[in-house]
Structure formats: C-alpha cells, structure tokens
C-alpha cells in the first residue's frame, strides 16, 4: 500500500485513455447524436409544416367548393330564366301561328260561303224558273215572258 512508480504508470495510462476517448470515441458519438437531434427537429418542423399546408389546402378546397356551389346556383338560375323565356317565346309563336291559321281558315270559309251562295242562288233561280216554267207552261209562253224572268233572276242575284 505504499506509493511507488505505479503512480506514474497510471497517470500515463490515464492520459492515453483520455486521448483515445477524445479522438476516437467522443466526437463520432457526439456528431451522430447532434445529427440525429437536428434530423428529429427537421422532421418535427416538416410535420408541422405539413399540417399547416394541409390546413391551408383544406381551407382552399372549402373556398373552391363554395365558389363552385355559387356558380352552379347562378347557372341554374340563369337556366331557369332562359327556360321561362323560351316557353314564353314558344307560346307567343304558337299564338301567332294559331291566329294565322285561323285567319286562313276564315278566309277559306268566306270563300266557301260565297261560292256556295252563288251555287245556291243559281240553283234557286233555276228552281224558281223551273217552278215558274211549270206554272207558266200551263199559262204562259216562256218566250213571251222572258223579260219578266230575267228581271226576277236579276233580283235574286242581288240577294
């Protein structure tokens, strides 16, 4: 238990251990730990950033959706208005057409009436003449009373 040269040997050994530790043990371990630390910090920051970006994107999506919805309702409104207009237009066109058709038909009817009346008058006058002929045949000579028949027929024509 006496102090001897072990002291010197130990001191040398100790300094060698410290030197080795300082050169080959501490720096690589510390470097790795620092690197990991910064890596983790980066990862956390990236995560945070991602979260924020996600939030932003969500908000953006919401905005876009809202815009789209508004646009869609605008379009629907416009379409409704246009449809109404189209119906109105079609209606008025139809009415016009109907009026035209009606007018044509009326004109035709008029013409029909006129020709029917002409035919009727002709037939009535022929009938009247034949009736008169029958009456008069027994009493009068047709050639004698031509002037009277013409007069009557002229009067009939005026009806």
């Amino acid at each position: 238990m006496n102090i001897n040269a072990t002291l010197i040997g130990q001191t040398i050994a100790f300094f060698m251990f410290v030197w080795f530790c300082m050169k080959f043990v501490w720096p690589p371990l510390m470097a790795a730990m620092e690197e990991r630390k910064s890596k983790i910090a980066e990862g956390l920051a990236a995560g945070e950033r991602g979260k924020k970006e996600h939030e932003l994107a969500e908000q953006r999506a919401k905005e876009v959706l809202q815009e789209a919805r508004a646009e869609a309702s605008d379009i629907i409104n416009l379409a409704n208005v246009r449809a109404g207009e189209m119906v109105e237009e079609a209606k008025s066109k139809a009415v016009e057409e109907a009026l035209k058709v009606k007018k044509g038909a009326e004109a035709e009817i008029e013409q029909e009436i006129a020709s029917a009346r002409e035919a009727l008058r002709q037939q009535v006058s022929v009938l009247a003449v034949s009736a008169a002929e029958k009456i008069i045949k027994s009493e009068i000579d047709a050639s004698k009373h031509q002037a009277i028949i013409d007069d009557i027929s002229g009067k009939l024509g005026a009806v």
């Binding site: 238990m1 006496n2 102090i3 001897n4 040269a5 072990t6 002291l7 010197i8 040997g9 130990q10 001191t11 050994a13 100790f14 300094f15 251990f17 410290v18 080795f20 530790c21 300082m22 080959f24 043990v25 501490w26 690589p28 371990l29 510390m30 470097a31 790795a32 730990m33 690197e35 990991r36 890596k39």
Partner: protein, 280 residues
Amino acid sequence: MAGENLTSSEYIKHHLTNLTYGQHPDGSWGIAHGETAAETAQAAKEMGFWAVNLDTLGVSVLLGVFFLWLFRKAAVAASAEVPTGWQNFVEMVLEFVDGSVKESFNGRNPVIAPLSLTIFVWIVLMNTMDLVPVDYIPHLGQLIGIPYLKVVPTTDPNLTFSLALAVFFLTIYYSIKVKGPGGFFAELAFHPFPKYMMPFNLILELIALVSKPISLALRLFGNMYAGEMIFILIALLPLGIQWTLSLPWAIFHILVVILQAFIFMTLTIVYLSMAHEENH
C-alpha cells in the same frame, strides 16, 4: 477462502497486499514475496519508489482498454438512425456526462467532456471489481502461480492519486493557459485578503490548491478500501450466513460504486471550471 491454514488477520492482509514488481535490496529484480503477507508488504516497501503494482496496473489498464473498446464499438456504429441496444446505452451515458459538464463548466474546451467520460466510466468499472466475490480472482491467480492479487484498482492509493494528480496538472495547466502565469499567481497571492497580506494569502491558497487533489484521491480510495475491507470481513464469516450480510452490502455498494465515480467526475469538472474562470 484462500487456504484453510491461514489465520484471519493473515487472510485479510493477503487480500490487501499488492503484487509488486521491483528491485530487491540485494539488487535483483523480481516480485516482492515473503512467507507472510506482512513480510511481502515489507519487501515491497524496501523496493522503494521504483516498483510497480502489477495487479493495479494490469487490472486498471485492462478495464480501461475494455471501456475504450466498448465505447469505440458504439462510436464506429454511430449513425443518425434510430439507435439500438448497446449504442443506446452508450449514448445515455454520454448524454449524462455531457449534461454534467454543461451544468458546471461554462468555458469551451474539447478536452473536458471526454476526460469526464473516461474518469466516470473507468472508475465505475474499476469500482465494480469490488462486487466480484473477494476470493474468486485472487484464488484463480494463485492457481496459476500469482501469489498476490488485489483486484480492485481503486483500493490502491497509487491509482486514486494518479488520477487526482492528472486532474491537478490539468487544473494548473489550464489556469496558466487561460489566465497567464501572472494571472494565476495573482489569483493565488491577492485573495482573499488585500495585497499587503500576500504571504498569508499564498499559504492559504496553496493549501486550498493542494488539498483538492488530495481530498479527491483520498475520498475515492477511502470509500473503496473500506467497502472492500467489509467484503473481506464478511467473507470470514461461516459460509451459511455470509449472504445475509454480503447481499445487502453488495446492493448498497452498487450505489457507492456509481456515486464515487460520479463525485470524482463532478469535482474534476468543477476544478477545471474554476481553472477557466477569470476571477474567483
């Protein structure tokens, strides 16, 4: 136990005797060896200063190499990926030491942290030899012809003093490096009293300076020596009841092992921190 024919005091002394190599008084070189442990110790003493305790030196260097090998392995494998197993443990130790250094050391010095790590782990390993049952290794040594083997290096004052002296030299080296020789002298001479009390200040400060390594060395030595002594005394008890004392003591000693290493490391950091500070 080492031998049935040994008396108790011989047994204890045997355990506390180093394996010393040096020059015998007759001029030949060899291992100090006597009939009894006391004679061996006497022979070792007669070798004077130029002798070495082979057991202390051998065990401590082996443990130091073991420490560096273990930590170097982790350092080689170190990466920024997820650490596993052994590397995790090494990093935990490093983090702990680094935390202690950052807590009490304010300057910037790349030596302090590795120094503290070496001190801490090395002392823990050497102290842990205390937990190996006291007879195992000496008995093994005897079987292969080594007469004396003191397996706990920290129970040898040579080792604790060598560590403390190394720290002491570093303290002085950094004091002079940081403050300059004049600054260092001023720190010793002009405190705590005014300049006209310089001789008194010098005596006071020198005592304070020298007491640091001595207390550092003796604290570690005393604790481990006493612990080892108690283990040896327990080993003298009858076999059946040894464990009732040795188990609690061993469990308590785990605390002492780590605590002493931690104290040594912390004080080293504090002393070196003081060496780096400009004024008291």
